[in-house]
């Protein structure tokens, strides 16, 4: 029987699920994705170990990383996975919580639909709720960073790494992250202050222990000098950044030179080696004593550098080179030719740094450019027991860097540890009662859904979640009462202390998160939930059957 004859119900070859079935399926899929990552939430969350088919191991606590490595197949679940990736790109942290909130919103929406409330009503309710929540968050809960100072940044970094492997050394790493972020601060042409996370270079070298990771005010390159005869330390470096092959010149493909005199042939060969020699001479004459190139340097050319006591490094990654050029004030040259057709190398092309040194890290070497002139740069050299640990450390630090960046840019923070979620939940519940429409139900459910974060935090810590969350809600309810005294208003910062299993003032305890990250994750989670909620029909197309396979298919 040929497959085509079977699909009479649908003109296209495929499968169709609709109505309550598909909604149920989607919610189930979203829940199962959230279930995977939910144990990694919070300071007492644990890690996941992922092994791929070649046997490579990844140990991670980062929601986005875990979901990326799990091959999720269900389309609705994929939406959540993408949500986590998006959060990772946009904010850098909070990838786990965004997935958990989205799944919870879906679950509750599904219950409402079962009670014969139309999905569009729920969607309107959710939209309204998230709008109110964000407004309340930025107006009442957020605190200005300027009031809190550097300690606040360190605390923000600490909070983001609390759930990660570097948790126990958070003092050390948080300072490192804040230093690094402040080192790369720059102001762009339009006068905006930027904190490019990518400008913080992270190198990994196994060995020693996590605490011996270094923060270097400079750029660390994972390369070695081209020849062992070169000096390994150069003070007052004048750096030439090239994108040129320093090898014997070779004619481009298709270029022919025809000579009559056989002796000329030799002259051509002689010239081949001279061309590069002259180029190097020009570069050295301009005063360069450190030459970095993204291409190769052949043995012949090395000698010129060795003789002049210059340091040459070949095969530098292009991205690294661009940043070095920016930091040292050098011009990255892809050719020496100038407009007149002559080959020149101006001293103006050079970049400056206090020192360039090759240093031994573990069993390897790396080149460290310190005291770059144009812009300060930052590098982190991570040390740790093995590569898996280093990879996870890198991911964790990246998250922290992003969070610090967001805090510096947005300038407001909110208390962490479930405080914001509990406060918003109480606020929305009050808000819901003021509405006399059907949206009231949706908003109330939204309020309840937010409580999943403090609940999950408590569950991960093996505490009594019902009791803790109830306490937390009580505090926030008091804080939000109209005409509450100042002492009572201060209760709005109450959050969970998961080690002791109590509630405490999380602003005082230094558990802080950037407000922007919270707002973005709330919005993103709602949007994702809404987009899944809108689905009432799924048509899954058959993979196109190839002509050649048809005879086999007929056998079934």
């Amino acid at each position: 029987m040929a497959p085509k004859e079977q699909q009479t119900a649908l003109t296209i070859g495929g499968e169709r699920t609709s109505g309550q079935d598909i909604r149920h399926q989607n919610v189930l899929a979203a829940m199962s994705v959230a279930n995977i990552v939910k144990t990694s939430l919070g300071p007492v969350g644990l890690d996941k170990m992922l092994v791929d088919d070649i046997g490579d191991v990844t140990i991670s606590n980062d929601g986005a990383t875990i979901l990326r490595l799990l091959e999720v197949e269900h389309p609705a679940a994929k939406v959540l996975v993408e949500l986590a990736q998006q959060q990772d790109k946009e904010v850098g942290d909070g990838t786990t919580s965004v997935v958990i909130v989205a799944a919870e919103l879906l679950k509750r929406a599904n219950e409402l639909v079962k009670n014969r409330i139309h999905p569009t009503t729920i969607i309107t309710g959710y939209r309204l709720a998230v709008k109110e929540a964000c407004k309340y968050l930025s107006e009442s809960l957020a605190t200005k960073v300027t009031d809190l100072g550097r300690d606040c940044l360190v605390n923000v970094a600490k909070t983001s790494m609390a759930s990660k492997i570097i948790n126990t050394d958070d003092d050390f790493f948080a300072t490192m992250v804040v230093d690094a972020m402040q080192a790369v601060k720059n102001v762009n042409a339009r006068g905006e202050v930027k904190y490019p996370v990518k400008a913080v270079n992270i190198l990994k070298a196994h060995g020693k222990s996590g605490k011996e990771s270094q923060f270097i005010r400079g750029y660390a390159l994972n390369c070695t000098v081209a020849s062992q005869a070169m000096p390994t330390v150069i003070q007052n470096a004048k750096i030439a950044c090239l994108d040129i092959n320093l090898m014997k010149a070779r004619m481009h493909l298709g270029v022919h030179v025809i000579v009559d005199d056989p002796t000329k042939l030799e002259a051509i060969r002689q010239r081949e080696s001279d061309i590069t020699a002259e180029r190097i001479e020009k570069i050295l004459a301009a005063g360069a004593n450190v030459i970095l190139t993204t291409k190769g340097i052949d043995d012949m050319c090395l000698k010129y550098f060795v003789e002049r006591g210059a340091m040459a490094v070949r095969r530098v990654a292009k991205d690294d080179m661009k940043r070095i050029a920016k930091a040292t004030g050098a011009t990255l040259l892809s050719t020496l030719a100038n407009l007149e057709g002559e080959e020149t190398f101006e001293p103006a092309y050079l970049g400056y740094a206090e020192s360039v040194a090759q240093e031994r890290v573990s069993d390897d070497e790396c080149i460290i450019i310190r005291g770059t002139k144009a812009q300060s740069s930052a590098s982190l050299i991570l040390r740790g027991a093995n590569d898996y640990m280093l990879d996870e450390m890198e991911r964790s630090l990246h998250d922290s860097l992003c969070v610090v960046k967001r805090t510096l840019e947005s300038g407001t923070v909110v208390p962490g540890g479930g405080a914001v979620e509990a406060a918003l939940s109480m606020y929305l519940e009050n808000f819901a009662t003021t509405l006399a429409s059907r949206e009231q139900l949706a908003i109330a459910e939204f309020a309840q859904a937010l409580l999943v974060i403090p609940k999950q935090l408590a569950v991960n810590a093996a505490k009594d979640s019902t009791e803790l969350v109830a306490k937390l809600c009580a505090y926030h309810a008091v804080a939000q009462q109209a005409g509450a005294s100042d002492a009572k208003k201060a209760l709005k910062a109450m959050g969970l202390d998961l080690i002791k299993g109590e509630t405490r003032d999380n602003v005082k305890a230094g558990v802080l998160e950037p407000a922007m990250s919270k707002i973005k994750s709330l919005k993103a989670a709602t949007e994702a939930a809404i987009s899944i909620l809108r689905i009432d029909d799924m048509i899954k197309l058959m993979p196109a059957q190839q002509e050649g396979e048809d005879p086999h298919a007929g056998l079934h």
């Binding site: 497959p3 079977q6 079935d21 399926q25 189930l28 899929a29 199962s32 994705v33 995977i36 144990t39 644990l46 890690d47 996941k48 170990m49 992922l50 092994v51 088919d53 046997g55 191991v57 140990i59 606590n61 490595l69 799990l70 091959e71 999720v72 197949e73 269900h74 492997i165 948790n167 126990t168 196994h206 060995g207 996590g210 390994t232 330390v233 070779r250 004619m251 270029v255 056989p262 042939l265 030799e266 051509i268 060969r269 080696s273 043995d299 012949m300 090395l302 000698k303 060795v306 031994r360 069993d363 027991a385 093995n386 898996y388 640990m389 996870e392 093996a462 058959m542 993979p543 079934h556």
Partner: protein
């Protein structure tokens, strides 16, 4: 339709989570540790490993053994990585780091069963690590790197556990000499000791182990290119090249079309002239010896021979670098650039000797060589390989002492001292964290215990005696350890077993951090398939679905 299963995840994955995942990690860690448990201490046994290619590895070096083991469990893989880290960072203590990490993991198992949160265990472990490092710092004593006797004793304790312990005096001397040779003071309290590049171990099967030595220069496995060239030169002038002494072809592609007969001859003549020119330029600096990394044509050999220059071709780049450092020559690429300053003159004697069936070139008697070759002789290749590994460890130890001249008592004394200190501290810790903290102390005792077990002693009796000695707290008590040969408690101060503090510190750090890493895991997902492997399954799926619909 309601009951239709929803496939969210790829179906061909295995997932272990919660307690099961934690326990399987712990078991995996312990299994890896058990493999190499018998390789610790002076009474250690070797392991014989057959690699997939059929080669044999005969060793008791933890890293070398684990490198050959193929393990499937992710946690076990992570453990094996530890040995590599340890080997690359300090070069010694690979066995102890694995044993310790395995023990720390298995110590955590009862706590997990008692429902103590892994985070609590980890923070207690980290706290213990800090205190342990402080204790090591307290009992470590400084060492004078220039004192040969002290350094020898130190290296001896590393080699004591190894295959070559029978020749330990000779080997220790060699390791120390090699490290001293390549050590270079960079000024500003910086010392560069690049063993990897400048101390080469050449293994020549045959002869006796006793004839192994460190050369005050370099040896390479090459012969002169022309039999008539001189094979013995005192105080040679050496030129190092990395270009071929042949007619050079250009980089650009060349096609030759010849229309006149005279041109053909001219081309051939040019080739000869070129070579002559090359050789004349070399001869201009009057060298006795020319090394090149590339080939030497017959014609060039002829010209060079006429000038009484000995040539050696196809030298490895690394060898050439070593020769450059030992003799003071600069490697030259274009003979046109050859200058008087590029010629190396620090070599005392050049000779070619036949050892066994092969010719070897020696450049010895160098003045202040900064590179050296260690010539190893021995009965068979496998034995030589093991000696090589041992010597690498010994050199790494010597190097570490150069960097951080501090010593700890060996023979399990340091571990015991730390264990006792931690047990003492544990009493003042509040809350559940005290148990895991104390567990670290118990785990550390695995080192002295294994030492006793490996030499067939009574572990419980000896260990309690040792613990009592340390706990007494009399001055010098911290140096009591296990004599790995008899299994008795001895004073390391008198017995003379010391180990570099750097190795001990690194062992503790690596073991504890990796244990923490594995304890944090509560979910293992394995067998994730990549997109390529997924495609066929999707194609298989439709027929099955159709079957259901029918």
């Amino acid at each position: 339709m309601m009951q239709q299963p929803i496939i969210v995840m790829n179906t061909n994955q295995q997932r272990e989570s919660g307690r099961k995942a934690q326990m399987s990690n712990i078991v995996a860690g312990k299994t890896v540790a058990d493999i190499i448990r018998t390789c610790l201490g002076p009474q250690a046994m070797l392991k014989m490993l057959l690699d997939p290619m059929g080669g044999i590895v005969l060793t008791n070096d933890g890293n070398a053994i684990l490198r050959e083991c193929e393990v499937a469990h992710p946690a076990a893989k992570s453990m094996i990585e530890l040995a590599r880290t340890q080997d690359e960072e300090v070069g010694d203590g690979t066995t102890s780091v694995i044993i310790l990490a395995g023990e720390l993991l298995s110590m955590a198992a009862p706590f997990l069963e008692r429902n103590i949160h892994p985070i609590v265990i980890i923070s207690a472990y980290k706290k213990a690590l800090e205190d342990a490092l402080a204790t090591i710092d307290r009992i470590a004593k400084p060492v004078d790197v220039t004192n040969r006797a002290e350094m020898l004793a130190l290296i001896k304790s590393t080699l004591g556990t190894k295959f070559i312990s029978r020749w330990s005096d000779l080997m220790c001397g060699m390791a120390l000499d090699a490290v001293r040779t390549v050590a270079q003071d960079l000024g500003g309290n910086k010392v560069e000791v690049d063993i990897k590049r400048y101390a080469r171990i050449e293994k020549v099967p045959g002869g006796e182990i006793e004839t192994s030595c460190v050369l005050d220069g370099v040896m390479i496995n090459k012969d002169v290119t022309h039999p008539k060239m001189r094979r013995n030169i005192t105080n040679p002038r050496i030129v190092l090249l990395d270009c071929p002494l042949e007619y050079k072809k250009g980089e650009s592609q060349t096609n030759i079309e010849i229309s006149k007969e005279a041109d053909w001859n001219r081309i051939l003549e040019i080739e000869e002239e070129q070579i002559k020119l090359l050789c004349d330029r070399i001869a201009a600096v009057k060298p006795d010896l020319v090394f090149t990394e590339k080939g030497v044509s017959d014609l060039a050999q002829h010209y060079l021979l006429k000038n009484n220059i000995t040539t050696i071709r196809r030298v490895r780049k690394t060898d050439n670098n070593r020769i450059a450092r030992a003799t003071g020559a600069t490697i030259v690429n274009r003979v046109e650039d050859l200058k008087e300053s590029d010629v190396g003159t620090r070599c005392g004697e050049f000779k070619v000797e036949k050892i066994g069936d092969e010719y070897f070139t020696f450049l010895v008697g160098c003045k202040d060589p900064k590179a050296c070759t260690i010539l190893l002789r021995g009965p068979s290749k496998d034995v030589l390989n093991e000696i090589d590994r041992n010597l690498q460890d010994a050199m790494a130890v010597a190097r570490n002492v150069y960097f951080a001249p501090r010593l700890c008592p060996g023979g399990g004394a340091t571990e015991m001292a730390v264990a006792v200190a931690l047990t003492e501290n544990a009493k003042s810790i509040e809350g559940v964290a005290a148990w895991p903290y104390r567990a670290v102390a118990d785990a550390l005792e695995v080192i002295p215990r294994t030492l006793v077990q490996n030499c067939g002693g009574n572990a419980i009796k000896t260990l309690t005696t040792l613990r009592a000695k340390h706990a007494a707290g009399t001055p010098g008590a911290s140096s009591f350890g296990i004599d790995g040969i008899t299994g008795n408690v001895v004073d390391m101060q008198k017995y003379g077993i010391w180990e570099p503090a750097a190795v001990k510190v690194q062992t503790l750090k690596t073991a504890l951090e990796s244990a923490c890493l594995l304890l944090r895991v509560d979910d293992i997902v394995s067998g994730l398939s990549k997109k390529e492997t997924r495609a066929p399954q999707q194609q298989q799926a439709p027929p099955e679905d159709m079957g259901q619909e029918m």
